[in-house]
Amino acid sequence: MDLNTKFTPQNWPEHAEQATMEGKNKFVGFWIFLSCEVVLFASLFATYLALKDSGPAGMDLAKYSTKALYELPLAFAMTMILLTSSLTSVYAMYHMKNFNFKGVQTWMGITVILGLCFLGLEIYEFYHYVHAGFGYRHSAFSSAFFTLVGTHGLHVIIGLVWISCLIFRNMKRGLNLYNAPKYFVASLYWHFIDVVWVFIFTVVYLMGVLG
């Protein structure tokens, strides 16, 4: 069967993303990639936990500690935005199952908008810290913090560029077995970004304000 075969809602396969050998391989390969990402983020989390609140002798902990720096309302807003964007990408996959390409594009578009809002808040947060004197080279604590949260932010940027490219490149193509796996793995990636964030808001922000 040709990858560009036209489908109807009646003959669209239930698991379109795994209907071709290429789709199956992408599916498993991408999950294995995600398991490697688990290890990458684990190393950054462990480094952060080992180095938090540490820095050069005489570092002002009243000003530059997890307790003094983090603001929960901002972290809460970011968490809600990212969790919601996870649901919107689930909606996109729901419409993919029903062969509703417009639905897929719309919900993926909403996911991108929410992702951009999240990214905006993260940039604001970093800007705020740097202006408060807490730059990347300030201390072991600051570099561990920016590397961990920044790597997550980089993943958000990659996800946004990726999903935007999918939306624009497939605008006129419609849904077929060529792009169904592409949309599916992009949504998996977006969920994974959320998985990492769940640990970031817990380990960095919530446990941070507790000292």
């Binding site: 396969p13 909606y91 199952k97 769940v198 817990t202 919530l206």
Partner: protein, 113 residues
């Protein structure tokens, strides 16, 4: 790439059933999402409330663990036993989690500053 797979069209009745089934699955996903939001609210509230940090820290970690399992199994469909090579996927993901655990163990116990 050529494929031998043939896709049979669903009858009207089958199609209606298929759509209803998908809608029911989507409703359960929304329920999962509501639980995630609730757990997040509980986590933030317990950090703000004046509880002992030694109690709150393991509690919010537990909530995070529940949320991650929800993401993996509900949103990312690791619960789908018929998915292609799901055993390999589970093996790699849980293997990754095990390696992750050793990192935490190492960085928080053996290394000191």
């Amino acid at each position: 790439m050529a494929h031998d797979t043939h896709f049979e069209a669903r009858s009207q009745v089958q199609q209606e059933y298929y759509r209803k089934e998908n809608a029911a699955k989507m409703r359960s996903q929304v329920t999962q999402f509501a639980i995630m939001i609730l757990l997040t609210l509980v986590a933030f509230a317990s950090a703000v409330a004046d509880f002992a940090p030694n109690f709150v820290k393991p509690f919010v970690l537990l909530l995070a663990g529940v949320q991650v399992v929800q993401q993996l199994y509900a949103f990312m469909h690791m619960e789908d036993k018929k998915a292609y090579h799901i055993g390999v996927i589970s093996f790699f993901m849980w293997g990754g989690a095990l390696i992750a655990f050793t990192f935490f163990l190492c960085f928080l116990t053996i290394i000191w500053w």
